[in-house]
């Protein structure tokens, strides 16, 4: 198996009595597309928030690229190469599209900010809207902008939280092509509800349920897994 870019051991986060993430062991192989699925409230967003540093880890450990990052604040993890795109679109609505992406590009110490920013926008097809105020973009375009910001960080690991939510079918095709184009330089971890997207894109799938690891494997394994079917169908 390929080298692991990220490993989590015994990752735990409780909110009061709610065990949002409860002792999860997780490995992410370098260059793969990995999907996290699970019923609503399974702890998916909390889990990736622990990985990205948005929520502090209660117990357990995370190694990224061979180094312990368990206690690193979120912005320092971004500097190490972990990018996170938000489930609820979190662009700077009152700033131009250009500035949204330039903020990510300049963080990489770009020497040709204008050129690199336009290239990052072109990658998602928003380069002709650079001067538009981001909040006035159509919803699908805002999602793309969000992804463009993540990609512009040139991350080693890109975490996408429900990236296709609210996208039209035609846009989803473009999105899938985009994700395929970033691997294997960038490892992709995505939370996704759209099973067609998951089965089509992911090489491996992790299923969470009640904050615990329910199953892990290839799309075919997961399809055949009885426990997963039971969790989804409420059996």
């Amino acid at each position: 198996m390929a080298a692991m870019i990220l490993s989590a051991r015994g990752l735990t986060r409780h909110f009061g009595g709610l065990k949002a993430v409860d002792g999860v062991d997780f490995d992410l192989a370098q260059g793969e597309i990995h999907a996290i699925i699970g019923p609503n409230g399974a702890g998916k967003t909390t889990f990736v928030s622990l990985l990205s540093g948005r929520i502090p880890v209660q117990s357990g450990s995370i190694t990224f690229n061979g180094q312990d990052i368990t206690r690193l604040p979120a912005h320092a993890r971004v500097a190490r190469g972990i990018a996170y795109t938000f489930q609820i679109t979190a662009i700077y609505a009152r700033l131009p599209v250009y500035d949204n992406v330039a903020l990510a590009v300049q963080r990489q110490g770009s020497r040709a900010l204008r050129r690199d920013t336009m290239a990052a926008l072109a990658r998602v097809g928003l380069d002709d809207r650079a001067d538009q105020e981001a909040g006035t973009l159509a919803y699908g375009h805002q999602r793309l902008l969000e992804i463009a910001m993540g990609l512009a960080l040139k991350p080693r690991l890109l975490i996408l939280d429900e990236p296709t939510q609210g996208l039209a079918n035609s846009e989803i095709e473009g999105f899938k092509a985009l994700v395929r184009s970033v691997v294997p330089d960038t490892t992709v971890l995505l939370i996704e509800h759209n099973m067609d997207v998951v089965m089509d894109l992911a090489q491996r799938i992790t299923v969470l349920n009640f904050g615990r690891l329910l199953a892990q494997g290839t799309p075919a394994d997961i399809r055949a897994n009885g426990a997963v079917q039971a969790a989804y169908l409420g059996g």
């Binding site: 948005r54 912005h75 938000f86 979190a90 662009i91 903020l103 300049q106 963080r107 960080l153």
Partner: protein, 309 residues
């Protein structure tokens, strides 16, 4: 280009103005220019970075007293002006390290508290600071590289020089990558964190730059008008820059100057016809909130002058 030309034109206009202004207004404009530097500093923290401070009188006072106390020790403007600049920056650094652990309303209260503590400290050390009464700078200290700042032209020139440097630096700052990150912090701190920016360092940097502006304005004020007193470190001088910025337009480069200028003359003109000039100011602020909540330049920018920095 257009915006650089506009800002240079404002500086040129102010330069030309000194040859036609009667003495009274000559002094007023000099005063407004140096106060505008203070307001620009406030705007960097409040307008661009979203840090609503109620303690900027402390930074202004730090510059003012650094210059004033050094002047008593025999130093002239060449030393006291940079000292005031540094004093403002250092005090902002110290306050920021603690106050930036909070945000929003708590940040307002903590900065207000620090500023009040500073004000009371000035009163407490009355024998050194002159307390409430303050003190007049020795005439010899009001000298910058041989120019006597007690006379009209050098005083106006110093005010204009400070204003011009501050304005162009402000313009450069807001167009720089740092300026973009400051605005990003104001707009969405969590998103900025996930783009790899440490909110604490960005906000601290903005506050220190803001403190440098306030400090050099304080030192310039002491040198130009020859008086240092505790009232300049009182709460009033934390509120005034906020009002100037709100009036002129928060998050615009020229707004602080326009706000300071209008407010100064609003008080000046209304107090010549009525003793209720505070009420006139109040009515003006109400009108502002009702009809142009983004300030004069902020409204202009919204109504078409989109290129206004």
């Amino acid at each position: 280009m257009k915006s650089l030309a506009l800002h240079l034109a404002v500086i040129a206009l102010l330069f030309a103005l000194q040859f036609v202004l009667p003495p009274y207004h000559h002094t007023n404009i000099a005063r407004v220019m140096v106060l505008a530097v203070f307001a620009m500093g406030y705007n960097i923290a409040f307008g661009y970075t979203g840090l609503l401070s109620l303690g900027h009188a402390l930074f202004f006072g730090a510059g003012l007293y650094a210059a004033g106390l050094m002047a008593n020790g025999g130093w002239t403007g060449l030393a006291t002006l940079p000292a005031g600049l540094l004093a403002g920056g250092l005090v902002a650094l110290a306050v920021g390290m603690l106050a930036l652990r909070t945000a929003g309303v708590s940040f307002m209260i903590v900065t207000l508290m620090f500023a009040q503590a500073g004000y009371l400290t000035i009163l407490y050390f009355g024998p050194v600071t002159g307390g409430d009464e303050g003190f007049v700078l020795p005439a010899a200290a009001r000298n910058l590289a041989g120019f006597d700042l007690a006379t009209e032209t050098p005083r106006y020139t110093l005010g204009l020089a400070l204003f011009a440097v501050a304005l162009l630096a402000n313009l450069a700052l807001v167009r720089s990558p740092l300026g973009r990150v400051m605005v990003a912090m104001r707009e969405n701190e969590e998103r900025s964190r996930m783009l790899g920016y440490n909110p604490f360092t960005v906000k601290l940097t903005a506050l220190v730059i803001s403190g440098l502006y306030a400090g050099v304005a304080g030192a310039g004020y002491a040198l130009m008008f020859g008086y240092v007193g505790a009232s300049f470190a009182a709460i009033q001088y934390s509120i005034l820059p906020m009002l100037w910025v709100l009036l002129g337009g928060a998050g615009t480069v020229l707004g602080p100057f326009i706000g300071a200028l209008l407010m100064f003359y609003l008080i000046d003109l209304s107090s010549s016809v009525t003793t209720a000039h505070q009420m006139v100011v109040g009515v003006a602020l109400l009108a502002l909130v009702l009809f142009a909540p983004k300030g004069l330049l902020g409204t202009l920018r919204e109504r078409g002058l989109k290129w206004l920095p």
